[in-house]
Amino acid sequence: MKSINKKAHLVGNLYSKDIKKVKTRDGYGKGLVKAGEKNKNVVVLCADLSESTRSEWFQKKFPERFVEIGVAEQNMASLASGMAAAGKIAFMSSYAAFSPGRNNEQIRTTISYNSWGSKPGREINVKIAGAHAGISVGPDGATHQALEDVGLMRLQPGMVVIVPCDDVECEKATIAAAETPGPFYLRFGRADYPSITTEKTPFKVGRIEEFRSGKECTIVANGPLVYEALIAAKKLEKEIDCQVLNCHTVKPMDGKTLLAAVKVTGCAVTAEEHQWQGGLAGAVAEFLGENYPVPIKRVGVKDRFGESGNPDELFKAFGLTADDIVKAVRAAVRMKK
Protein backbone atom coordinates (compact mmCIF):
# COMPACT_ATOMS: atom_id res chain seq x y z
CA MET A 1 0.00 0.00 0.00
CA LYS A 2 3.03 2.27 0.03
CA SER A 3 2.11 4.27 -3.07
CA ILE A 4 -1.54 4.64 -2.19
CA ASN A 5 -2.28 8.25 -1.44
CA LYS A 6 -3.05 8.35 2.29
CA LYS A 7 -5.30 11.35 1.79
CA ALA A 8 -7.52 9.17 -0.40
CA HIS A 9 -8.50 7.09 2.65
CA LEU A 10 -9.14 3.95 0.62
CA VAL A 11 -10.12 0.68 2.32
CA GLY A 12 -7.29 -1.11 4.10
CA ASN A 13 -7.73 -4.42 2.31
CA LEU A 14 -7.66 -2.95 -1.19
CA TYR A 15 -5.62 -5.79 -2.68
CA SER A 16 -7.27 -8.59 -0.73
CA LYS A 17 -9.47 -11.09 -2.50
CA ASP A 18 -11.92 -10.62 0.36
CA ILE A 19 -12.54 -6.96 -0.44
CA LYS A 20 -16.20 -6.17 0.09
CA LYS A 21 -18.23 -6.04 -3.13
CA VAL A 22 -21.33 -3.88 -3.26
CA LYS A 23 -23.73 -2.75 -5.95
CA THR A 24 -22.92 0.85 -6.88
CA ARG A 25 -26.65 1.57 -7.19
CA ASP A 26 -27.04 0.86 -3.46
CA GLY A 27 -25.18 4.13 -2.99
CA TYR A 28 -27.72 5.84 -5.22
CA GLY A 29 -30.58 4.49 -3.10
CA LYS A 30 -28.93 5.59 0.14
CA GLY A 31 -28.01 8.96 -1.32
CA LEU A 32 -31.60 9.56 -2.45
CA VAL A 33 -32.93 8.89 1.04
CA LYS A 34 -30.36 11.20 2.63
CA ALA A 35 -30.98 13.93 0.06
CA GLY A 36 -34.71 13.54 0.65
CA GLU A 37 -34.25 13.88 4.40
CA LYS A 38 -32.22 17.04 3.95
CA ASN A 39 -34.51 18.73 1.46
CA LYS A 40 -38.26 18.30 1.11
CA ASN A 41 -38.11 19.47 -2.49
CA VAL A 42 -36.29 16.33 -3.57
CA VAL A 43 -38.57 14.09 -5.65
CA VAL A 44 -37.80 10.86 -7.48
CA LEU A 45 -39.32 9.79 -10.79
CA CYS A 46 -38.90 6.28 -12.07
CA ALA A 47 -39.80 4.49 -15.29
CA ASP A 48 -40.96 1.09 -14.02
CA LEU A 49 -37.57 0.10 -12.59
CA SER A 50 -37.82 1.23 -8.99
CA GLU A 51 -36.39 -1.90 -7.40
CA SER A 52 -33.37 -2.37 -9.62
CA THR A 53 -32.45 1.34 -9.72
CA ARG A 54 -32.92 1.51 -5.91
CA SER A 55 -35.42 4.36 -6.31
CA GLU A 56 -37.63 2.10 -4.23
CA TRP A 57 -35.59 2.93 -1.14
CA PHE A 58 -36.70 6.54 -1.51
CA GLN A 59 -40.25 5.47 -2.37
CA LYS A 60 -40.57 3.51 0.89
CA LYS A 61 -39.42 6.46 2.94
CA PHE A 62 -41.19 9.24 1.03
CA PRO A 63 -44.08 7.69 -0.92
CA GLU A 64 -45.69 11.10 -1.48
CA ARG A 65 -42.55 12.33 -3.23
CA PHE A 66 -42.10 9.34 -5.50
CA VAL A 67 -43.59 9.51 -8.99
CA GLU A 68 -44.12 6.35 -11.03
CA ILE A 69 -44.01 7.17 -14.73
CA GLY A 70 -44.35 3.76 -16.33
CA VAL A 71 -42.32 2.73 -19.36
CA ALA A 72 -42.11 6.23 -20.79
CA GLU A 73 -38.62 7.66 -20.54
CA GLN A 74 -39.29 10.58 -22.87
CA ASN A 75 -42.23 11.65 -20.78
CA MET A 76 -40.15 11.18 -17.64
CA ALA A 77 -37.46 13.59 -18.83
CA SER A 78 -39.88 16.37 -19.71
CA LEU A 79 -42.06 15.76 -16.64
CA ALA A 80 -38.95 16.05 -14.49
CA SER A 81 -38.19 19.31 -16.28
CA GLY A 82 -41.68 20.61 -15.49
CA MET A 83 -41.42 19.58 -11.85
CA ALA A 84 -38.02 21.26 -11.59
CA ALA A 85 -39.45 24.43 -13.13
CA ALA A 86 -42.04 24.34 -10.34
CA GLY A 87 -39.33 24.20 -7.66
CA LYS A 88 -38.49 20.52 -7.27
CA ILE A 89 -35.12 18.80 -7.37
CA ALA A 90 -36.12 15.94 -9.60
CA PHE A 91 -34.13 12.72 -9.80
CA MET A 92 -35.17 10.51 -12.70
CA SER A 93 -34.11 6.88 -12.67
CA SER A 94 -33.98 4.24 -15.35
CA TYR A 95 -31.42 2.18 -17.19
CA ALA A 96 -28.85 4.20 -19.09
CA ALA A 97 -29.76 2.37 -22.31
CA PHE A 98 -33.21 4.01 -22.13
CA SER A 99 -32.40 7.20 -20.25
CA PRO A 100 -30.44 8.97 -21.69
CA GLY A 101 -30.42 6.36 -24.47
CA ARG A 102 -33.97 6.89 -25.67
CA ASN A 103 -34.77 10.39 -24.41
CA ASN A 104 -31.67 12.26 -25.50
CA GLU A 105 -33.60 14.99 -27.31
CA GLN A 106 -35.97 15.56 -24.40
CA ILE A 107 -32.98 15.89 -22.09
CA ARG A 108 -31.32 18.25 -24.53
CA THR A 109 -34.26 20.58 -25.09
CA THR A 110 -36.32 20.42 -21.91
CA ILE A 111 -33.51 19.97 -19.38
CA SER A 112 -30.09 21.13 -20.58
CA TYR A 113 -31.05 23.94 -22.97
CA ASN A 114 -34.01 24.85 -20.78
CA SER A 115 -31.61 25.40 -17.89
CA TRP A 116 -28.88 27.02 -19.99
CA GLY A 117 -28.33 30.65 -19.08
CA SER A 118 -30.76 30.59 -16.14
CA LYS A 119 -30.38 33.09 -13.35
CA PRO A 120 -29.22 31.58 -10.04
CA GLY A 121 -32.17 29.89 -8.41
CA ARG A 122 -33.93 29.34 -11.75
CA GLU A 123 -31.88 26.38 -12.98
CA ILE A 124 -33.65 23.22 -14.08
CA ASN A 125 -32.64 20.87 -11.29
CA VAL A 126 -33.05 17.51 -12.94
CA LYS A 127 -30.66 14.74 -11.94
CA ILE A 128 -30.60 11.86 -14.40
CA ALA A 129 -29.54 8.48 -13.04
CA GLY A 130 -28.45 5.99 -15.69
CA ALA A 131 -28.34 2.62 -13.98
CA HIS A 132 -27.22 -0.71 -15.43
CA ALA A 133 -24.73 1.08 -17.65
CA GLY A 134 -21.84 -0.71 -19.33
CA ILE A 135 -21.40 -4.33 -20.34
CA SER A 136 -21.48 -5.52 -16.73
CA VAL A 137 -25.28 -5.63 -17.03
CA GLY A 138 -24.24 -9.06 -18.23
CA PRO A 139 -26.79 -11.66 -19.35
CA ASP A 140 -29.36 -9.10 -20.59
CA GLY A 141 -27.12 -8.50 -23.59
CA ALA A 142 -26.25 -5.57 -25.82
CA THR A 143 -29.69 -3.91 -25.97
CA HIS A 144 -29.40 -3.14 -22.26
CA GLN A 145 -25.67 -2.39 -22.15
CA ALA A 146 -25.34 1.37 -22.56
CA LEU A 147 -21.87 2.15 -23.89
CA GLU A 148 -22.36 5.59 -25.36
CA ASP A 149 -24.30 7.41 -22.64
CA VAL A 150 -21.38 9.35 -21.15
CA GLY A 151 -20.56 10.65 -24.63
CA LEU A 152 -24.17 11.67 -25.21
CA MET A 153 -24.48 13.55 -21.96
CA ARG A 154 -21.02 15.10 -22.13
CA LEU A 155 -21.95 16.89 -25.35
CA GLN A 156 -24.79 18.81 -23.75
CA PRO A 157 -23.76 22.27 -22.55
CA GLY A 158 -24.20 22.69 -18.81
CA MET A 159 -24.62 19.00 -18.03
CA VAL A 160 -22.45 17.69 -15.18
CA VAL A 161 -21.46 14.06 -15.81
CA ILE A 162 -20.38 11.83 -12.94
CA VAL A 163 -19.34 8.17 -13.03
CA PRO A 164 -18.75 7.05 -9.42
CA CYS A 165 -16.19 4.33 -8.76
CA ASP A 166 -18.15 2.46 -6.08
CA ASP A 167 -21.24 2.53 -3.86
CA VAL A 168 -19.74 4.89 -1.27
CA GLU A 169 -18.79 7.42 -3.89
CA CYS A 170 -22.16 7.00 -5.61
CA GLU A 171 -23.92 8.00 -2.41
CA LYS A 172 -21.76 11.12 -2.13
CA ALA A 173 -22.33 11.95 -5.79
CA THR A 174 -26.11 11.60 -5.37
CA ILE A 175 -26.16 13.95 -2.39
CA ALA A 176 -23.85 16.40 -4.18
CA ALA A 177 -26.15 16.34 -7.23
CA ALA A 178 -29.11 17.25 -5.04
CA GLU A 179 -27.19 20.13 -3.50
CA THR A 180 -25.62 21.55 -6.67
CA PRO A 181 -27.84 23.56 -9.03
CA GLY A 182 -28.40 22.47 -12.63
CA PRO A 183 -28.67 19.27 -14.64
CA PHE A 184 -26.60 16.22 -13.68
CA TYR A 185 -26.02 12.82 -15.17
CA LEU A 186 -25.03 10.06 -12.72
CA ARG A 187 -23.96 6.78 -14.26
CA PHE A 188 -23.49 3.42 -12.60
CA GLY A 189 -23.54 -0.29 -13.35
CA ARG A 190 -25.53 -3.27 -12.17
CA ALA A 191 -22.93 -5.69 -10.81
CA ASP A 192 -21.24 -6.01 -7.43
CA TYR A 193 -18.00 -4.05 -7.51
CA PRO A 194 -15.22 -3.77 -4.96
CA SER A 195 -16.07 -1.03 -2.49
CA ILE A 196 -12.75 0.80 -2.46
CA THR A 197 -13.46 4.21 -0.96
CA THR A 198 -14.58 5.16 2.53
CA GLU A 199 -16.58 7.93 4.14
CA LYS A 200 -13.32 9.85 4.54
CA THR A 201 -12.32 9.66 0.87
CA PRO A 202 -12.53 13.19 -0.51
CA PHE A 203 -15.24 13.82 -3.09
CA LYS A 204 -15.96 17.08 -4.82
CA VAL A 205 -17.89 17.53 -8.04
CA GLY A 206 -15.45 18.46 -10.79
CA ARG A 207 -12.31 17.38 -8.97
CA ILE A 208 -10.02 14.49 -9.83
CA GLU A 209 -8.74 12.56 -6.81
CA GLU A 210 -5.31 10.97 -6.87
CA PHE A 211 -5.68 7.46 -5.45
CA ARG A 212 -2.12 6.38 -6.11
CA SER A 213 0.96 8.45 -6.73
CA GLY A 214 3.42 7.57 -9.49
CA LYS A 215 5.92 9.23 -11.79
CA GLU A 216 6.00 7.26 -15.05
CA CYS A 217 2.43 6.92 -16.30
CA THR A 218 -0.93 8.44 -15.34
CA ILE A 219 -3.91 6.11 -15.41
CA VAL A 220 -7.13 8.13 -15.54
CA ALA A 221 -10.12 5.95 -14.74
CA ASN A 222 -13.69 6.09 -13.54
CA GLY A 223 -16.44 3.69 -12.52
CA PRO A 224 -15.37 0.11 -11.82
CA LEU A 225 -12.20 0.62 -13.85
CA VAL A 226 -10.71 2.64 -10.99
CA TYR A 227 -10.30 -0.59 -9.03
CA GLU A 228 -8.86 -2.34 -12.10
CA ALA A 229 -6.44 0.57 -12.52
CA LEU A 230 -5.25 0.23 -8.92
CA ILE A 231 -4.70 -3.49 -9.43
CA ALA A 232 -2.84 -2.80 -12.68
CA ALA A 233 -0.61 -0.24 -10.94
CA LYS A 234 0.15 -2.77 -8.23
CA LYS A 235 1.03 -5.42 -10.83
CA LEU A 236 3.36 -2.97 -12.53
CA GLU A 237 4.96 -1.54 -9.42
CA LYS A 238 8.39 -3.09 -9.98
CA GLU A 239 8.35 -2.18 -13.67
CA ILE A 240 6.55 1.15 -14.17
CA ASP A 241 5.66 3.65 -11.46
CA CYS A 242 1.97 4.38 -12.15
CA GLN A 243 -0.19 7.16 -10.86
CA VAL A 244 -3.95 6.41 -10.60
CA LEU A 245 -6.45 9.23 -10.86
CA ASN A 246 -10.12 8.76 -10.08
CA CYS A 247 -11.84 11.00 -12.63
CA HIS A 248 -15.43 10.54 -11.44
CA THR A 249 -16.48 13.85 -12.97
CA VAL A 250 -16.07 13.58 -16.73
CA LYS A 251 -17.61 17.02 -17.13
CA PRO A 252 -16.51 19.56 -16.12
CA MET A 253 -13.03 18.07 -16.52
CA ASP A 254 -10.51 18.89 -13.81
CA GLY A 255 -7.90 20.05 -16.31
CA LYS A 256 -5.63 21.53 -13.67
CA THR A 257 -5.03 18.23 -11.89
CA LEU A 258 -4.74 16.33 -15.15
CA LEU A 259 -2.21 18.76 -16.53
CA ALA A 260 -0.07 18.70 -13.38
CA ALA A 261 -0.15 14.89 -13.50
CA VAL A 262 1.01 14.37 -17.08
CA LYS A 263 3.65 17.07 -16.80
CA VAL A 264 5.34 14.68 -14.38
CA THR A 265 4.52 11.30 -15.94
CA GLY A 266 4.60 12.23 -19.62
CA CYS A 267 1.95 9.75 -20.74
CA ALA A 268 -1.59 8.65 -19.92
CA VAL A 269 -3.91 5.67 -20.07
CA THR A 270 -7.66 6.13 -19.83
CA ALA A 271 -9.87 3.34 -18.51
CA GLU A 272 -13.66 3.21 -18.54
CA GLU A 273 -16.58 0.86 -19.08
CA HIS A 274 -17.79 2.78 -22.11
CA GLN A 275 -17.00 3.12 -25.78
CA TRP A 276 -13.39 4.15 -26.09
CA GLN A 277 -14.43 7.20 -28.05
CA GLY A 278 -16.55 10.05 -26.74
CA GLY A 279 -16.49 9.30 -23.02
CA LEU A 280 -13.67 9.72 -20.53
CA ALA A 281 -11.06 8.95 -23.19
CA GLY A 282 -12.51 11.65 -25.41
CA ALA A 283 -12.57 14.19 -22.62
CA VAL A 284 -8.98 13.46 -21.55
CA ALA A 285 -7.62 13.33 -25.10
CA GLU A 286 -9.34 16.57 -26.08
CA PHE A 287 -7.98 18.39 -23.09
CA LEU A 288 -4.44 17.05 -23.30
CA GLY A 289 -4.28 17.29 -27.09
CA GLU A 290 -4.95 20.98 -26.84
CA ASN A 291 -2.95 21.79 -23.73
CA TYR A 292 -0.11 19.33 -23.30
CA PRO A 293 0.09 16.55 -25.88
CA VAL A 294 1.43 13.30 -24.47
CA PRO A 295 1.02 9.69 -25.63
CA ILE A 296 -2.40 8.34 -24.62
CA LYS A 297 -3.67 4.77 -24.72
CA ARG A 298 -7.33 4.01 -24.19
CA VAL A 299 -8.91 1.09 -22.37
CA GLY A 300 -12.58 0.87 -23.24
CA VAL A 301 -15.01 -0.91 -25.52
CA LYS A 302 -13.59 -0.78 -29.01
CA ASP A 303 -16.42 0.50 -31.18
CA ARG A 304 -18.61 -2.56 -30.92
CA PHE A 305 -21.83 -3.63 -29.22
CA GLY A 306 -21.88 -5.80 -26.13
CA GLU A 307 -23.30 -9.29 -25.72
CA SER A 308 -24.65 -11.67 -23.11
CA GLY A 309 -22.39 -13.20 -20.50
CA ASN A 310 -21.29 -12.83 -16.90
CA PRO A 311 -19.72 -9.49 -15.97
CA ASP A 312 -16.31 -11.04 -15.23
CA GLU A 313 -16.10 -12.92 -18.51
CA LEU A 314 -17.34 -9.89 -20.42
CA PHE A 315 -14.71 -7.65 -18.81
CA LYS A 316 -12.10 -10.14 -20.02
CA ALA A 317 -13.60 -10.56 -23.48
CA PHE A 318 -13.92 -6.79 -24.00
CA GLY A 319 -10.48 -5.93 -22.67
CA LEU A 320 -11.47 -4.04 -19.53
CA THR A 321 -9.41 -5.85 -16.90
CA ALA A 322 -6.34 -4.87 -14.90
CA ASP A 323 -4.26 -6.94 -17.33
CA ASP A 324 -5.54 -4.90 -20.25
CA ILE A 325 -4.61 -1.72 -18.41
CA VAL A 326 -1.13 -3.17 -17.78
CA LYS A 327 -0.67 -3.69 -21.52
CA ALA A 328 -1.92 -0.19 -22.28
CA VAL A 329 0.46 1.34 -19.74
CA ARG A 330 3.44 -0.47 -21.28
CA ALA A 331 2.37 0.73 -24.73
CA ALA A 332 1.94 4.32 -23.56
CA VAL A 333 5.35 4.34 -21.87
CA ARG A 334 6.96 2.92 -25.03
CA MET A 335 5.51 5.83 -27.01
CA LYS A 336 7.29 8.39 -24.85
CA LYS A 337 10.28 9.79 -26.65
Binding site: G70, Q74, N75, S78, G82, T110, G117
Partner: protein
Protein backbone atom coordinates in the same frame (compact mmCIF):
# COMPACT_ATOMS: atom_id res chain seq x y z
CA UNK B 1 -39.46 47.08 3.95
CA UNK B 2 -41.16 43.74 3.71
CA UNK B 3 -41.74 41.78 0.55
CA UNK B 4 -44.01 43.58 -1.92
CA UNK B 5 -47.50 42.16 -2.02
CA UNK B 6 -47.87 40.94 -5.57
CA UNK B 7 -51.27 41.08 -7.15
CA UNK B 8 -52.32 39.73 -10.52
CA UNK B 9 -53.07 42.29 -13.21
CA UNK B 10 -56.80 43.02 -13.59
CA UNK B 11 -58.72 41.00 -16.14
CA UNK B 12 -60.26 42.59 -19.19
CA UNK B 13 -63.88 41.49 -19.50
CA UNK B 14 -64.94 43.83 -22.29
CA UNK B 15 -65.20 41.68 -25.42
CA UNK B 16 -64.76 44.65 -27.77
CA UNK B 17 -61.48 45.51 -26.06
CA UNK B 18 -60.36 41.90 -26.30
CA UNK B 19 -61.24 41.75 -30.00
CA UNK B 20 -59.21 44.88 -30.62
CA UNK B 21 -56.30 43.41 -28.71
CA UNK B 22 -56.49 40.22 -30.79
CA UNK B 23 -56.46 42.37 -33.91
CA UNK B 24 -53.45 44.29 -32.64
CA UNK B 25 -51.66 41.02 -31.83
CA UNK B 26 -52.33 39.83 -35.42
CA UNK B 27 -50.84 43.03 -36.81
CA UNK B 28 -47.83 42.64 -34.55
CA UNK B 29 -47.40 39.06 -35.75
CA UNK B 30 -47.35 40.17 -39.39
CA UNK B 31 -44.90 42.97 -38.66
CA UNK B 32 -42.51 40.81 -36.69
CA UNK B 33 -42.59 37.97 -39.23
CA UNK B 34 -41.96 40.36 -42.12
CA UNK B 35 -39.01 41.85 -40.23
CA UNK B 36 -37.70 38.38 -39.40
CA UNK B 37 -37.85 37.10 -42.98
CA UNK B 38 -38.56 33.59 -41.77
CA UNK B 39 -40.97 31.87 -39.40
CA UNK B 40 -44.51 30.55 -39.27
CA UNK B 41 -47.54 32.64 -40.21
CA UNK B 42 -50.73 30.58 -40.24
CA UNK B 43 -50.58 29.05 -36.76
CA UNK B 44 -49.90 32.28 -34.86
CA UNK B 45 -52.72 34.12 -36.66
CA UNK B 46 -55.14 31.27 -36.02
CA UNK B 47 -54.37 31.17 -32.31
CA UNK B 48 -54.39 34.94 -31.68
CA UNK B 49 -57.82 34.84 -30.07
CA UNK B 50 -56.83 32.05 -27.68
CA UNK B 51 -53.70 33.93 -26.59
CA UNK B 52 -55.66 37.14 -26.16
CA UNK B 53 -58.23 35.40 -23.97
CA UNK B 54 -55.50 33.74 -21.93
CA UNK B 55 -53.22 36.73 -21.34
CA UNK B 56 -55.92 39.34 -20.85
CA UNK B 57 -58.82 37.49 -19.24
CA UNK B 58 -57.94 34.06 -17.88
CA UNK B 59 -54.36 34.06 -16.67
CA UNK B 60 -53.46 35.04 -13.13
CA UNK B 61 -50.17 36.81 -13.76
CA UNK B 62 -48.20 39.99 -13.36
CA UNK B 63 -45.71 40.91 -16.08
CA UNK B 64 -43.67 42.92 -13.58
CA UNK B 65 -43.02 39.86 -11.45
CA UNK B 66 -42.14 37.04 -13.83
CA UNK B 67 -41.26 34.60 -11.11
CA UNK B 68 -44.21 35.31 -8.83
CA UNK B 69 -45.11 31.99 -7.25
CA UNK B 70 -48.82 32.71 -7.45
CA UNK B 71 -48.82 32.95 -11.23
CA UNK B 72 -50.57 30.60 -13.62
CA UNK B 73 -48.28 28.99 -16.17
CA UNK B 74 -48.43 28.98 -19.94
CA UNK B 75 -46.51 26.19 -21.63
CA UNK B 76 -46.27 26.60 -25.38
CA UNK B 77 -45.50 23.15 -26.70
CA UNK B 78 -45.60 23.95 -30.42
CA UNK B 79 -42.85 26.51 -30.09
CA UNK B 80 -42.99 27.42 -33.77
CA UNK B 81 -46.10 29.55 -33.21
CA UNK B 82 -44.12 31.75 -30.80
CA UNK B 83 -44.78 34.95 -32.81
CA UNK B 84 -48.27 34.93 -31.25
CA UNK B 85 -46.86 34.22 -27.79
CA UNK B 86 -44.35 37.04 -28.11
CA UNK B 87 -46.95 39.47 -29.46
CA UNK B 88 -49.35 38.61 -26.63
CA UNK B 89 -46.61 38.96 -24.03
CA UNK B 90 -45.45 42.31 -25.43
CA UNK B 91 -49.01 43.64 -25.45
CA UNK B 92 -49.43 42.40 -21.88
CA UNK B 93 -46.34 44.35 -20.84
CA UNK B 94 -43.65 41.69 -20.48
CA UNK B 95 -41.23 43.58 -22.73
CA UNK B 96 -41.23 46.64 -25.01
CA UNK B 97 -43.31 46.16 -28.14
CA UNK B 98 -40.55 47.47 -30.39
CA UNK B 99 -38.56 44.36 -29.49
CA UNK B 100 -41.03 42.32 -31.59
CA UNK B 101 -39.12 43.62 -34.61
CA UNK B 102 -36.04 41.69 -33.46
CA UNK B 103 -37.71 38.27 -33.83
CA UNK B 104 -35.19 35.68 -35.01
CA UNK B 105 -32.37 38.24 -35.35
CA UNK B 106 -28.90 37.65 -33.95
CA UNK B 107 -28.71 38.67 -30.30
CA UNK B 108 -32.49 38.80 -29.82
CA UNK B 109 -34.38 37.65 -26.77
CA UNK B 110 -37.09 36.47 -29.19
CA UNK B 111 -35.44 33.29 -30.39
CA UNK B 112 -36.87 31.48 -33.41
CA UNK B 113 -38.23 28.96 -30.97
CA UNK B 114 -38.73 30.10 -27.37
CA UNK B 115 -35.90 29.76 -24.87
CA UNK B 116 -36.96 30.03 -21.24
CA UNK B 117 -33.95 31.76 -19.76
CA UNK B 118 -33.52 34.24 -22.60
CA UNK B 119 -36.84 36.03 -22.19
CA UNK B 120 -38.34 36.62 -18.74
CA UNK B 121 -41.91 35.41 -18.61
CA UNK B 122 -41.36 32.28 -20.66
CA UNK B 123 -42.01 29.13 -18.67
CA UNK B 124 -40.32 26.60 -20.97
CA UNK B 125 -38.06 26.08 -23.91
CA UNK B 126 -39.85 24.48 -26.85
CA UNK B 127 -39.66 23.69 -30.51
CA UNK B 128 -39.15 19.96 -30.91
CA UNK B 129 -42.75 18.80 -30.83
CA UNK B 130 -44.36 16.50 -28.32
CA UNK B 131 -42.63 17.59 -25.10
CA UNK B 132 -44.83 20.42 -23.85
CA UNK B 133 -47.66 18.38 -22.39
CA UNK B 134 -45.13 16.43 -20.32
CA UNK B 135 -43.59 19.64 -18.98
CA UNK B 136 -46.99 21.12 -18.23
CA UNK B 137 -48.06 17.90 -16.51
CA UNK B 138 -44.85 17.97 -14.46
CA UNK B 139 -45.61 21.53 -13.33
CA UNK B 140 -49.24 20.70 -12.60
CA UNK B 141 -48.21 17.60 -10.63
CA UNK B 142 -45.63 19.52 -8.58
CA UNK B 143 -48.10 22.32 -7.85
CA UNK B 144 -50.76 19.82 -6.83
CA UNK B 145 -48.19 18.10 -4.61
CA UNK B 146 -47.64 21.44 -2.84
CA UNK B 147 -51.41 22.00 -2.62
CA UNK B 148 -51.16 25.15 -4.69
CA UNK B 149 -54.03 26.53 -6.74
CA UNK B 150 -52.12 27.81 -9.77
CA UNK B 151 -53.38 26.61 -13.13
CA UNK B 152 -51.19 25.32 -15.92
CA UNK B 153 -52.19 25.90 -19.54
CA UNK B 154 -50.52 23.92 -22.27
CA UNK B 155 -50.83 24.81 -25.94
CA UNK B 156 -50.20 22.07 -28.46
CA UNK B 157 -50.51 21.78 -32.20
CA UNK B 158 -52.65 19.15 -33.86
CA UNK B 159 -49.63 17.83 -35.78
CA UNK B 160 -47.85 16.99 -32.53
CA UNK B 161 -50.63 14.59 -31.65
CA UNK B 162 -48.62 12.34 -33.95
CA UNK B 163 -45.82 12.28 -31.34
CA UNK B 164 -45.87 9.29 -29.01
CA UNK B 165 -44.69 11.38 -26.08
CA UNK B 166 -47.88 13.46 -26.20
CA UNK B 167 -49.84 10.33 -25.36
CA UNK B 168 -47.41 9.29 -22.65
CA UNK B 169 -48.13 12.63 -21.02
CA UNK B 170 -51.88 12.38 -21.65
CA UNK B 171 -51.86 9.01 -19.86
CA UNK B 172 -49.93 10.44 -16.91
CA UNK B 173 -52.21 13.47 -16.55
CA UNK B 174 -55.31 11.28 -16.73
CA UNK B 175 -53.98 8.82 -14.18
CA UNK B 176 -52.99 11.58 -11.78
CA UNK B 177 -56.25 13.53 -12.20
CA UNK B 178 -54.44 16.79 -12.90
CA UNK B 179 -57.44 19.06 -12.62
CA UNK B 180 -55.17 22.12 -12.60
CA UNK B 181 -54.02 21.28 -16.12
CA UNK B 182 -55.84 22.66 -19.16
CA UNK B 183 -54.46 21.78 -22.57
CA UNK B 184 -55.40 23.24 -25.93
CA UNK B 185 -55.01 21.57 -29.26
CA UNK B 186 -54.56 24.15 -31.99
CA UNK B 187 -56.90 22.25 -34.32
CA UNK B 188 -56.29 23.95 -37.64
CA UNK B 189 -55.90 20.74 -39.67
CA UNK B 190 -52.63 21.73 -41.31
CA UNK B 191 -49.02 20.76 -40.85
CA UNK B 192 -45.90 21.41 -42.92
CA UNK B 193 -46.41 18.65 -45.47
CA UNK B 194 -50.15 19.07 -45.88
CA UNK B 195 -53.48 18.43 -44.17
CA UNK B 196 -53.26 16.44 -40.94
CA UNK B 197 -55.85 13.90 -41.98
CA UNK B 198 -53.81 13.12 -45.11
CA UNK B 199 -50.45 13.04 -43.35
CA UNK B 200 -51.62 10.90 -40.42
CA UNK B 201 -55.30 10.81 -39.48
CA UNK B 202 -55.81 12.06 -35.91
CA UNK B 203 -59.55 11.74 -35.47
CA UNK B 204 -61.42 11.05 -33.30
CA UNK B 205 -59.27 13.31 -31.13
CA UNK B 206 -61.96 14.14 -28.58
CA UNK B 207 -62.77 10.48 -28.00
CA UNK B 208 -59.10 9.62 -27.71
CA UNK B 209 -58.60 12.14 -24.90
CA UNK B 210 -61.83 11.07 -23.19
CA UNK B 211 -60.52 7.51 -23.23
CA UNK B 212 -57.43 8.81 -21.38
CA UNK B 213 -59.66 10.22 -18.60
CA UNK B 214 -59.72 13.81 -19.80
CA UNK B 215 -62.65 16.22 -19.86
CA UNK B 216 -62.99 17.48 -23.44
CA UNK B 217 -64.49 20.72 -24.68
CA UNK B 218 -64.75 21.55 -28.41
CA UNK B 219 -64.87 25.20 -29.36
CA UNK B 220 -64.59 27.67 -32.17
CA UNK B 221 -61.28 29.11 -31.05
CA UNK B 222 -61.64 32.23 -33.17
CA UNK B 223 -64.49 33.22 -30.86
CA UNK B 224 -63.04 34.92 -27.78
CA UNK B 225 -66.08 34.42 -25.49
CA UNK B 226 -66.04 30.71 -26.39
CA UNK B 227 -62.39 30.47 -25.35
CA UNK B 228 -63.08 32.24 -22.06
CA UNK B 229 -66.10 30.07 -21.32
CA UNK B 230 -64.14 26.90 -22.04
CA UNK B 231 -61.32 27.96 -19.69
CA UNK B 232 -63.84 28.80 -16.99
CA UNK B 233 -65.60 25.48 -17.49
CA UNK B 234 -62.24 23.69 -17.17
CA UNK B 235 -61.72 25.36 -13.79
CA UNK B 236 -64.88 23.71 -12.49
CA UNK B 237 -63.90 20.17 -13.50
CA UNK B 238 -62.65 18.04 -10.65
CA UNK B 239 -60.26 15.11 -10.81
CA UNK B 240 -59.69 15.37 -14.54
CA UNK B 241 -57.44 17.44 -16.76
CA UNK B 242 -59.29 19.33 -19.48
CA UNK B 243 -58.61 19.33 -23.18
CA UNK B 244 -59.92 22.22 -25.22
CA UNK B 245 -60.11 21.17 -28.83
CA UNK B 246 -59.58 24.59 -30.32
CA UNK B 247 -60.90 24.55 -33.87
CA UNK B 248 -59.54 27.58 -35.66
CA UNK B 249 -58.82 28.94 -39.08
CA UNK B 250 -55.11 28.96 -39.78
CA UNK B 251 -54.07 32.38 -41.05
CA UNK B 252 -57.28 33.90 -39.62
CA UNK B 253 -57.74 37.51 -40.63
CA UNK B 254 -55.54 37.47 -43.72
CA UNK B 255 -57.61 36.20 -46.66
CA UNK B 256 -54.76 34.79 -48.74
CA UNK B 257 -53.32 32.86 -45.80
CA UNK B 258 -56.52 31.36 -44.42
CA UNK B 259 -56.76 27.57 -44.57
CA UNK B 260 -53.73 27.19 -46.83
CA UNK B 261 -51.10 24.84 -45.47
CA UNK B 262 -48.46 26.50 -47.64
CA UNK B 263 -48.60 29.38 -45.13
CA UNK B 264 -47.80 27.06 -42.25
CA UNK B 265 -44.07 27.59 -42.34
CA UNK B 266 -43.33 30.83 -44.20
CA UNK B 267 -43.44 34.55 -43.47
CA UNK B 268 -45.03 37.24 -45.62
CA UNK B 269 -42.82 39.28 -47.94
CA UNK B 270 -42.84 43.05 -47.45
CA UNK B 271 -45.51 43.38 -50.14
CA UNK B 272 -47.65 40.59 -48.73
CA UNK B 273 -47.30 42.10 -45.27
CA UNK B 274 -48.70 45.40 -46.56
CA UNK B 275 -51.76 43.67 -47.97
CA UNK B 276 -52.17 41.62 -44.79
CA UNK B 277 -51.94 44.70 -42.57
CA UNK B 278 -54.47 46.56 -44.72
CA UNK B 279 -56.90 43.66 -44.30
CA UNK B 280 -56.34 43.53 -40.57
CA UNK B 281 -56.81 47.30 -40.23
CA UNK B 282 -60.04 47.10 -42.19
CA UNK B 283 -61.15 44.31 -39.85
CA UNK B 284 -60.30 46.55 -36.90
CA UNK B 285 -62.61 49.26 -38.28
CA UNK B 286 -65.39 46.69 -38.61
CA UNK B 287 -64.84 45.60 -34.99
CA UNK B 288 -65.12 49.20 -33.83
CA UNK B 289 -68.34 49.61 -35.77
CA UNK B 290 -69.41 46.43 -33.99
CA UNK B 291 -70.21 44.74 -37.24
CA UNK B 292 -67.89 41.79 -36.70
Amino acid sequence: MGKPVIKPVPKIDNILKLKLLANQIRQDIINSLAAAGSGHSAGPLGMADVFTALYFNILKHNPKYHFWEGRDRIVLSNGHICPVLYAAMANAGYFPKKELQTLRHYGTRLQGHPHRSTLPGLETTSGPLGSGLSQAAGMAYALQMDKKKNRVFCLMSDGEQECGQTWEAAMFAGKNKLQNLTAFIDRNNIQIDGYTEDIMPLEPLADKYRAFNWHVIEIDANNIPAVINACNEAATIHEKPTLILAHNIPGKGVSFMENDYLWHGKPPTAEEAKVALAELKAWRERIIKDKD
